[in-house]
Amino acid sequence: MKGWMGKFRALFLFSSLLLVLSGCGKENLTAFVPEGYGAEVSLNLIIISLAVMIFVILVVMIVYTMVLVKFRKKKGQEDFIPKQTEGNKALEVIWTVIPIILLIIIAVPTVTATFDLADDSKAKDSININVTGNQYWWHFSYNKEEIQTSQDLYIPTDTRVYLNLKSSDVIHSFWVPSISGKMDANPENENTMYIEAYEEGVYWGKCAELCGPSHSLMDFKVIAVSPEEYEQWVQDMKNVDPEAQPETASAQEGQKLFQENSCIGCHAIGSSPAAVGPNLTNFGDRTRVAGVLDHDKETIVNWLLNPDELKPGNKMAGNYPKLSEEEASKIADYLLQLQPSEITPESAGNE
């Protein structure tokens, strides 16, 4: 690990340089600033191959420029017929052999890295999380701990966490650029990958496989907290009482509405496995509503009133009785106070 960290510093400098050149990417989203093992392995490979490619492009450009400078038609030489050369064995050998060598330089680390990132020999003794992609949200179930949650994936730092990806409908792809490359969630089989975050933080995740109209709105977060905080989060989540009475009157009414309007038919609170809609156990701690919207009461009310407008094609729209604005506001109050744990995105240093 230490060796990697040393290299990581150097890489960090290099990628910062790249970022300056490219006009910056968003921290916690860009693949240029790796904050996790997978992203670092990929970036190493990207840099090696980029270096080779820049060399190739330079060679081509040098010859190209010389050609353009030296051999354009000159005044007074319009009728000059150049020598009709057939070829040149030596040259041809050179430009066959050198690319082969260059490719070997890329191929070896490629194969190593590919096997490295697919290594699941230690999966048994680690945290395993089942990840399910749905149109258009993500579900996470920590099978050892019987914790169910959606949209925000809590993980401990400096630990390999194994994800078993599957889809409940069409193909999705799980991508948290700053932590790791992507892996598809297929409907008929499970894929395993691991992620490991170096530092605490809230990292943006995106769906990377076209999955319908709201494909671009299927964002999620990976919230990396220290292992101690993670333990506490797990405890808190395990001890959730789904029936707990909210404190304010409005929220209490909201809770009733939530149950009467059959919201609970699709959503779940507590550790029962989610069915059609996201698990809302820690909704109050979320960073975003529906993955992409601002997390405030107004937005939630708007969402409840007209989800299709905010996230076209989602499966909530039209599947519950029409709500008045007042009802929506009460439900929002109820949802916002669902904060079972002290470990929140803030613990990881929000966004």
């Binding site: 910056c24 191959s49 490629t110 991508w175």
Partner: protein, 617 residues
């Protein structure tokens, strides 16, 4: 474009002439016009994409509509613009380059065109009939099998019909190149364009059947309740991915190889040198075609095939850089020591070299599987393939059009406008797509209807959109050039560029029988060989004699129309079984036309020697 003779005949006769034609030169015109129109439509869709992405969280188009646009942009550009235009070029040029009077199967040639056109029309009819396909040009199941409405059905039938046309074209050109070469035209004397078309046709022959099957399975799943890709019935969507890419990867070489041929011709002509390393170029072409069939899973690195499969396909993919590199360096060395004329055709070729090198090298970066976990389905990939497709295929098409325009239409495109087109397009192109490499790695996935504010993606997207407007401007200048050239009165000699290959040895545009007497080929660059020996024309290989020509026929048009009608029937019978009538009527028309074709002898006719002599000045 139209010769004086056709004008006299009146417009109806002119149209009839084109609808029934089996002359490869006219079919070339048809392909170019139809492909060109589809290019404009695809370009318009690209502009809509870029306008939508001009700023974060834009709502210029709706989410569902965006998916339709992006699907149709990809599908239209690949199947209905780039490929048909390439078919147009090969129809216009290959028979002339090998010294043939015609293609092997003139009837099939015409059928191929009409199938493509009707397939394309069917696909685009979806816009007006409840929505276009919206599952991406790759139509991954189960998104495609569950997509509501009829969009994907139009995709399936449109591509099935036009794909059949393409397959015919492929077989036709294979046989043409093998059987119809002029005396003396050995394989190793064939111009490189002809060689690349030969290899391309082989790729078509072996790649398209996989697509055909894939489309059938998709059709069965969507329309007839089968379960190939339905996990609840035990189906598996990965099968579609394999079938699509077994076709899809060779497809990208089907697009690029012909333009490699074009650049070889253009560069050697305007550098006034023979192609450097001809043998190596042929060898590299064949090798690219061969390797092209073993790498398709590089589009599937993140599917979960496992590290062993990923590594094998990664290394196989990288291997393609070697033959492609051979080509790049051979072109550079062709130019080296030459006497280079820089006109429009040459500008596009010179623009191609660095652009394609960048696109190819990013391809090799993509091939590094563990790195592709980051690139995949991000704008990095979008940047890669536009660098090779636009920077390769579209540049190549422009180069070819400027180069062969006089041969096809007897007029030279305006040089000033040509250069303006190039610079607008070239600058716009790099503005649009270079920045997308970074956008991808900065976390912007592809096929995103909106990107969010505050994610550092705004500037890049804005620049990209501005660039697209430059490309549009360039395209419009080109259109102006085409129109103003075609209304101008102008006469061009047979050989305006001091050409090297056979097509330049006959008048522009050529007579409908191409060669009065088949030429005797005495080396590579046959016309150049004659020129170096002080002759201006080819030596004939045969005495003047009767020329056998095929008859025109309306049947290809009728057959394709039949399939077109049946296509609608298939699409709508899901809703209402009475649409099966359309299936029966359509198939009846098509099969009827086939029946007529097979029982009616079609022996063609002869142009008599005396008439040929009369024509001679």
């Amino acid at each position: 474009m139209s010769t004086a003779v056709t004008h006299k005949k009146g417009f109806g006769a002119f149209l009839w002439d084109y609808i029934t034609t089996v002359d490869h030169k006219k079919i070339a015109h048809l392909y170019l016009i139809a492909g060109g129109l589809f290019f404009l439509i695809g370009g318009l869709e690209a502009m809509l994409i870029r306008i939508q992405l001009i700023k974060p969280a834009n709502d210029f188009v709706s989410a569902g509509f965006y998916n339709e646009i992006l699907t149709m942009h990809g599908t239209t550009m690949i199947f209905l613009a780039a490929m048909p235009i390439i078919f147009g070029l090969m129809n216009a040029v290959v028979p002339l380059q090998i010294g043939a009077r015609d293609v092997a199967f003139p009837f099939l040639n015409s059928l191929g065109f009409w199938l493509f056109l009707f397939g394309g029309l069917l696909l685009n009819a979806s816009w007006f009939l409840g929505g276009a396909p919206d599952a991406g040009w790759t139509a991954y199941a189960p998104l495609s099998t569950t997509s509501p409405g009829h969009g994907v059905d139009f995709y399936i039938l449109g591509l099935q019909i036009s794909g059949a046309g393409t397959l015919m074209g492929g077989i036709n050109f294979l046989v043409t190149i093998i059987n119809m070469r002029a005396p003396g035209m050995t394989y190793m004397r064939m111009p490189l364009f002809t060689w690349t078309i030969f290899v391309t046709s082989v790729l078509i022959l072996f790649a398209f059947p996989a697509l055909t099957v894939g489309l059938f399975l998709l059709m069965f799943d969507r329309m007839f309740g089968s379960g190939f890709f339905d996990p609840t019935m035990g189906g598996n969507s990965v099968i579609w991915e394999h079938l699509f890419w077994i076709f899809g990867h060779p497809e990208v070489y089907i697009l690029i190889l012909p333009v490699f041929g074009v650049f070889s011709e253009v560069m050697s002509t305007f550098a006034k040198k023979r192609l450097f390393g001809y043998t190596a170029m042929v060898f590299a072409t064949v090798l690219i075609g061969f390797l092209g069939f073993m790498v398709w899973a590089h589009h599937m690195f993140t599917v979960g095939l496992g590290p062993a499969a990923n590594s094998i396909f990664a290394v196989a993919t990288m291997a393609i850089a070697v033959p492609t590199g051979i080509k790049i360096f051979n072109w550079l060395l062709t130019l080296w020591g030459g006497n280079i004329t820089v006109n429009s055709a040459m500008l596009w070729s010179l623009g191609f070299l660095p652009t394609f090198t960048i696109g190819g090298t990013t391809g090799v970066m993509l091939a590094a599987a563990a790195a592709d976990y980051q690139y995949h389905d991000s704008y990095f990939v979008v940047a890669h393939f536009h660098y090779v497709i636009v920077g390769g295929v579209v540049f190549g098409i422009f180069a070819a059009l400027h180069y062969w325009w006089p041969k096809m239409f007897g007029k030279i495109l305006n040089e000033k406008l040509g250069k303006l087109t190039f610079w607008l397009f070239f600058i716009g192109f790099h503005l649009t797509f270079f920045i997308q490499h970074f956008l991808g790695l900065m976390g912007m996935p592809r096929r995103y209807w909106v990107f969010l504010p505050d994610q550092g993606l705004d500037t890049g997207n804005l620049i990209s959109t501005i660039g697209a407007f430059f490309m549009a401007a360039g395209t419009i200048v080109f259109l102006i050039n085409v129109i103003s050239t075609s209304v101008k009165k102008q006469e061009v000699a047979g050989d305006p560029w001091d050409g090297r290959t056979l097509e330049w040895s006959i008048p522009s545009p050529p007579e409908h029988y191409n060669f009065k007497q088949l030429p005797l080929v005495r080396g590579l660059d046959p016309l150049w060989v004659e020129k170096t020996e002080g002759r201006k024309e080819m030596t004939p290989a045969e005495p003047l004699g009767d020329i056998h020509m095929p008859n025109n026929s309306i049947l290809p048009f009728v057959m394709s129309l039949g399939f077109f009608i049946a296509g609608f029937g298939f699409i709508y019978q899901v809703d209402d079984l009475s649409w099966l009538t359309a299936v029966f009527v359509g198939m009846g028309i098509a099969l009827g036309a086939m029946f007529v074709r097979s029982v009616k002898d079609d022996l063609g006719y002869h142009i008599h020697k005396e008439d040929l002599e009369k024509g001679a000045k």
